[in-house]
């Protein structure tokens, strides 16, 4: 059931940084992905050709018969922004746990110590969360947090403002104060490729205003942060994301996660989730 629902969404299966042929797996199906710099193709083990779409510097595909539209990110094409695909990181966890961790700020002082947070600045101030029914997306707004080094382009500690957006069960977009341009948001997204219900590949992607850092430095900054997250994600028990509210205990700081879990359940997006207490 849950896989059937998941089949009709689009997922990233490669980045488009360099031409390549890549053997990978999506929703328990082996795939061969070819990207020659202009066009992409995605083929199943029995020779089935699946649709291939290039968006946000990644090759996306959909295995199901009735693809739901793939979301957009306006800022992707805004002049002056640097688009930074950060490469794929394989994680032994549910794809949904990877997205939920991306939506979480309370872990910054402990997991990203000295970069995205630091004791004693641990408090999560009240913020707003809602499901925007007209677009069927989860949004968290008015989020703020103290950060020692919020971005590669940030000189020192800053109070950072955030907005989070979940437009897809396995993708989330973060809009974040842009240190060199206070009137704009930096955009950081995570696109998650569900390999199976308990293994995923996270493809972080950014669209930033940063004229000084090299592409390699930006990728390295993001990868360092994501590798810290991986040490958490591979040690959460159970591996699947529990949707039964009795299984884990949230607080006010977890409102985004609570809304995300409810939204998944309501949508029937249960691939990678656990619906009943164990």
């Amino acid at each position: 059931m849950s896989r059937e629902h998941a089949l009709d969404d689009w997922y990233p299966v490669a980045d488009t940084v360099l031409p390549q042929i890549r053997a990978t797996r999506l929703l328990d199906t082996d795939l061969s992905v070819a990207w020659d710099g202009e066009t992409a193709s995605v083929t199943g083990p029995d020779g089935t050709a699946y649709p291939a779409e290039i968006r946000f510097d990644h090759v996306w595909t959909c295995l199901g018969p009735a693809p739901r539209p793939l979301f957009g990110i306006e800022e992707a094409d805004q002049p002056g922004r640097r688009r930074v695909p950060c490469g794929g990181v394989r994680v032994r966890c549910s794809p949904l746990r990877a997205v939920e961790n991306f939506l979480d700020i309370a872990h910054f002082p402990y997991v990203h110590t000295g970069i995205l947070g630091a004791e004693p600045h641990t408090e999560v101030f009240p913020y707003e969360v809602k499901i925007r029914e007209e677009v069927d997306e989860v949004w968290a707004t008015k989020v703020s947090f103290y950060q020692p080094q919020a971005a590669k382009s940030a000189g020192g500690a800053t109070d950072i403002r955030y907005e989070y957006r979940v437009p897809h069960p396995m993708a989330a977009v973060l809009y974040k104060t842009c240190p060199p341009r206070p009137s704009e948001w930096d955009v950081i997204a995570i696109f998650v490729q569900p390999v199976s219900e308990t293994v995923c590949i996270a493809w972080p992607w950014m669209a930033l205003f940063d004229d000084t850092s090299s592409q390699a430095e930006l990728v390295q900054f993001q990868q360092e942060i994501f590798l810290q997250d991986r040490s958490i994600l591979e040690n959460q028990i159970p591996a699947g994301l529990p949707l039964d509210p009795r299984m884990e205990i949230p607080t006010r700081a977890d409102l985004t996660s609570v809304a995300y879990r409810r939204w998944l359940k309501r949508r029937g997006a249960l691939y990678g989730a656990l619906t009943e207490a164990e």
């Binding site: 997991v111 004791e119 641990t122 408090e123 958490i232 959460q236 028990i237 884990e248 205990i249």
Partner: protein, 202 residues
């Protein structure tokens, strides 16, 4: 209800956190700054993170993920995201009864820990894992499985075995007080036992 030896007490100094197993349960084993040892389910009730990756602050264990702190009674005492909130009493780690006897830490999978009578004047030697079941480990010692294995061919050695599964058994080894050279010989004897047991297990 069974009581399992999960570690040598001297391998768990104050401030240390490690993973342990008792009868199929995945546990966090930790010792507070003042010296109290605790064994809990290896799972933070908040977001399921293994507490064995956490850290000790004084008399509390903190989860690595969000820094939630649990006191020695296993109740949540501090949530850093809400520093002014008194955490509800319902937020607790699941605790198991623990006893220290004869230099070994014993944990009950339910009820009270009831360690076997320990010989007097034993010293901790080392803990090691055998890649075999408990019966094979005991066979290598020339014995039947028991909570304590007194080695007939090496009268100074006692093993407290902790069965982890069909192919893994922890052995917490104690000795009579020995001179340094004899301790080294005893370590070699445990290695020889392990080879014998693992060869028999195939």
């Amino acid at each position: 209800m069974t009581t399992f030896p999960v570690a040598l007490a001297h391998d768990l100094p104050p401030g240390r956190v490690q993973r342990a197993f008792a009868g199929g349960r995945d546990l966090v084993l930790w010792r507070s700054a003042s010296g109290r040892a605790m064994a809990w389910d290896n799972r933070c009730p908040h977001r399921g993170m293994r507490l064995s990756h956490g850290f000790v602050r004084g008399e509390r264990l903190a989860c690595l993920y969000h820094g939630w702190q649990y006191g020695t009674e296993a109740a949540c005492a501090h949530i850093p995201a809400h520093p002014d909130l008194a955490p509800p009493a319902t937020i607790r780690a699941a605790a198991y009864d623990l006893a220290e006897a004869g230099g070994v830490i014993w944990v009950a999978d339910e009820g009270y820990a009831d360690p076997p009578d320990m010989p007097l004047a034993v010293m901790p030697l080392r803990s090691l894992t055998f890649r075999c079941d408990l019966a094979t480990l005991a066979w290598a010692c020339g014995l039947e499985p028991a909570p304590l294995l007194f080695l007939p061919e090496h009268p100074s050695l006692v093993i407290a075995p902790n069965p982890l599964g069909p192919d893994r058994t922890e052995a917490h080894v104690l000795t009579a007080p020995l001179h340094a050279a004899d301790r080294i010989a005893a370590i070699h004897q445990t290695e020889a036992l392990r080879r014998l047991a693992e060869e028999a297990a195939g």
